[in-house]
Amino acid sequence: MKIIIVGCGRVGSRMAAQLSDEGNAVVVIDRNPVAFDKLQDSFAGTMVVGTGIDEDVLINAGISGADAVISVAKGDNTNIMVGQISKFLYKVPKVVVRIVDPKIKKFYEQEVGLSCYCPTEVSSSGYMSMLRGE
């Protein structure tokens, strides 16, 4: 699979390494080239410097032929825009974006049709179940 990851932070770099090790063609986008230091030496994919909300950057990263886009950049709004460009303009089959604000996540999931991952919801319910000893 050809996978584009927007945002090379802790989560982005970890997924990039794993997906690359599994044999996927991975392209990582980050506006800060220093962020790519987090990628292990074994990373066989491509790095693109730029912001994912710039269509030219996405084109450069090969969005036209991509099978999946995962957007885990710092700001919710960046991920929201990347997700919509990928899904609705470039018809990328699988698009997942991170949205930290639960209400915004619900809105974009229900009203706009984006697949969203909300770390706030997931981690708070994780803490709760640990607290309850489950």
Binding site: I53, E55, N77, I85, I104, F107
Partner: protein, 222 residues
């Protein structure tokens, strides 16, 4: 008419003031506490400390009853989200987004935000028009590039407008050949008066081109 403006930078500040002077009810939303304090000194209660990309923030700004939402932060992605929340969640009839990257105009339109204002596009267009209008366009060159056939479009304020061709102080090594006026071709006899919008086709040596340009089109405004 109630307008919610997202983004309290220079554009948001002056837009709020301008719309208030026109008699609109306006709320300006910004998510930077210090900025909001400063804006309040000038705009008072019209300023609300809230995030324009959150449902609660826009609710506090009164988006539910807004007629127009305008997002003018410096970040295109923030303006997109504010406008989408306004239009889809709060059912605001009109959403206007400021964009920095001109290519986002198409993207925003496809994502339901049809009205975008791009300062970048406006400036680029102005420069393009200016450059095109102040230039002689080379059509053909001959005699080892010593001579050229040139085209110039006269404007309202071009110095040659209103003059007979015999009165235009052409350089010795330049000649007006024909004038294209609308659909007609006019041979450049001395008593023909030049009009604005005339397309002048001239022949000139290379070294007199700059003088010819000045005589026909004038000096670019500084």
């Amino acid at each position: 008419m109630y307008v919610v403006i997202v983004g309290g930078g220079q554009v948001g500040y002056y837009l709020t003031k301008t719309l208030q002077e026109k008699g609109f009810e306006v709320t300006l939303v910004d998510w930077n506490f210090d900025k909001v304090q400063k804006l309040k000194q000038s705009l008072g209660e019209a300023v609300v400390f809230a995030s324009g990309s959150s449902i609660d923030g826009l609710e506090r700004a009164g988006c539910s009853r807004a007629d127009v939402i305008v997002a003018v932060t410096g970040d295109d992605e923030d303006n997109l989200v504010a406008c989408q929340l306004g239009k889809i969640h709060f059912k605001v009839p009109k959403a206007i987004a400021r964009i920095s990257n001109p290519k986002n105009e198409r993207i925003f339109r496809e994502l339901g935000v049809g009205t975008t204002i791009s300062g970048t596009t406006s400036i680029a267009d102005a420069i393009e028009r200016y450059v095109a209008k102040q230039q002689l366009i080379p059509l053909l060159s001959f005699d080892h590039n010593e001579m050229a056939l040139l085209e110039a479009e006269l404007l309202e304020d071009s110095p040659a407008v209103g003059k007979k061709i015999s009165e235009v102080p052409l350089p010795y090594e330049s000649l007006i050949a024909i004038i294209l006026r609308g659909r007609s071709v006019i041979f450049a006899k001395g008593d023909i008066v030049l009009n604005a919008k005339d397309m002048v086709i001239a022949i000139s040596t290379q070294k007199e081109q700059e003088n010819l340009r000045k005589i026909l089109l004038g000096d670019p405004e500084v």
